[in-house]
Amino acid sequence: MMTEQEAFETVLEIVRPFVRNHEKFKTADASTRIWEDLQVNSSRFIDILLAIEETFDLEIAFEKFEGASTVGDVAKLLMGFTRDRDPLVIQAAREKLKHVTKSQLAP
């Protein structure tokens, strides 16, 4: 299980490659809206979902993400998805994510 702060940081790391408003990104909090504030192209929704799946070796139903719009919304979902995961596995996945460069994240 991730803490709220850990989940928040993880979501920011995952959305980082898709952000167009870097000023807003620097001051992002849980209420920051991914599409409107960070100006992430809404079609990248699927890429964010894929990045979460790949990072944590999960399969997530598309519908679970419907309605998620803020960094905090996605962080809460992430906490739920990883609730039963071994904390060491989660830690390793988060570490791996930090070292993934933006270009490596790009397909």
């Binding site: 898709f18 952000v19 079609s43 990248r44 890429d47 894929l50 933006k102 270009s103 790009a106 397909p107």
Partner: protein, 430 residues
């Protein structure tokens, strides 16, 4: 009233140069951009040489954010670099994403031959679809593979609000784009048009892009150990085309608009034409009906309001295939000139290979720089001139020479028996 159309910006990313100054220097020096490509050798290509713009993996980060690059294949990157260079060269400012100003009077025609289909290979499209893992394709497949991917990207990068589209007519694409953009402005439908073309292909993806040409045996097979000698238009030992990639874009602008903002002017577009030989009279899907070629050149010259004998130089299509002598004969017929008066002619493909959909634009840029700067670039690798061209031997430009001419004709011909011809004039107020 017909608007005069001038060229106020140029962006060029070719296998032998990046940017106007480098391209001009490479043309004058007769510098080849063709090199041996290990990836082609690994795939057992007959032709293992080609032309790919240099160092783009590093340069692209000077132009695009990671967010933008996430959804850009090489076609879009090449077009994007040339488009941004062209915009800046014209004295215009690339807008911020956060701005709200749209250039309502500026459009774009950015053509391509093969489009962004390299993305299907780099993203394992077929295995993912066949195994039902559709979601794993991610969100970018369509925006990268749609035929209009490059024009769409540039429309956003430059906040264009006019007619933004792509054209595709195989190897005539680039010249056709410029001709079409010329009509847009001449007819008062736009103040400015970004016009030209791009063709994708990196060392990694070139095998996919070019395999079909190798299969057709239309590529040069005899010079894998001497890449710079491989592209041999007008040569007795011409053995086929050398494929290449890159992008060339010009900013076409109404003279009124150019004057209003005090823009520098490279040259004037005097006229142009595009047609099809109907795949009759010797024309097929892959070869030209000579009457179509002749009509296209004549129509372009007539629309330019000049006499055929006023053409001072020709930048040929000249692919280093067995059509080269036929092309020369078609120029002679269209311009109604005997061999002794045949204008100087050169083949930019001898230096940069055949950039397919991008070729017309890269070669039009060569013609425009020649007019603007007063030189004719050498056509290399035709020291052993095809004997059929002996009557015009002195017209074949084999060493860089000064040029004081006022009008240059450029034509491109493509699969589908399609033709395009643009007539460029040295800039003068009168």
């Amino acid at each position: 009233m017909k608007e005069r159309v001038v060229i106020t910006g140029i962006g060029v990313l070719s296998p032998n140069a990046h940017g106007v100054a480098e391209y001009s220097a490479a043309l004058r020096a007769g510098r080849s951009g063709i090199r041996f490509l290990e990836t082609l050798a690994e795939c057992k290509f007959g032709c293992q040489v080609g032309g790919i713009p240099h160092d783009v993996d590093r340069k692209k980060r000077d132009y695009f954010s990671d967010e933008a690059l996430y959804a850009m294949n090489s076609l879009m990157i090449y077009a994007g670099i040339a488009g941004i260079d062209c915009w800046r060269d014209a004295g215009l400012v690339v807008p911020e994403w956060s701005g709200s100003t749209v250039e309502w009077d500026t459009g774009a025609i950015v053509g391509t031959g093969a489009g962004g289909n390299e993305t299907l290979h780099t993203r394992d499209f077929e295995p993912k679809v066949k195994s039902g893992h559709l979601r794993r394709l991610g969100s970018t497949i369509i925006e990268e593979t749609m035929c209009s991917s490059a024009s769409a990207k540039l429309g956003g990068l430059l906040a264009l609000g006019g007619h933004v589209t792509t054209n595709s007519s195989a190897c005539a694409t680039g010249t056709e784009a410029i001709v079409e953009a010329y009509f847009h402005i001449a007819q008062g439908r736009a103040k400015r048009m970004l016009a030209g073309s791009a063709e994708g292909g990196t060392e990694t993806t070139a095998p996919y892009a070019w395999a079909g040409f190798d299969a057709m045996r239309v590529t040069a097979r005899g010079h894998n150990d001497a890449p710079e000698k491989a592209s041999r238009p007008m040569s007795a030992t011409a053995g086929g085309l050398v494929p290449s990639a890159g992008a060339g874009l010009l900013l076409l602008e109404s003279l009124t608009s150019a004057r209003e903002r005090g823009a520098k002017i490279y040259a004037e577009v005097l006229g142009g034409s595009a047609n099809c030989g109907g795949q009759r009279g010797g024309g097929t899907m892959t070869s030209a009906n000579r009457e179509g070629v002749v009509r296209c050149i004549r129509d372009a010259v007539a629309r330019a309001g000049v006499s055929p004998r006023e053409i001072d130089a020709i930048n040929g299509h000249l692919t280093a295939t067995n059509f080269d002598p036929g092309e020369i004969a078609a120029w002679s017929e269209a311009l109604d000139v005997e061999a002794a008066r045949f204008p100087p002619i050169n083949a930019t493909k001898s230096l940069i290979g055949h950039a397919l959909g991008a070729s017309g634009a890269l070669e039009c840029i060569a013609a425009v720089l020649e007019l603007h700067e007063g030189f004719l670039h050498p056509s290399i690798n035709c020291e052993d001139l095809n004997p059929a061209l002996d009557p015009i031997a002195t017209s074949v430009v084999r060493d860089c020479r000064p040029f004081e001419g006022k009008i240059v004709a450029k034509a491109s011909f493509g699969f589908g028996d399609v033709n395009a011809c643009a007539i460029f004039g040295k800039w003068s107020e009168s």
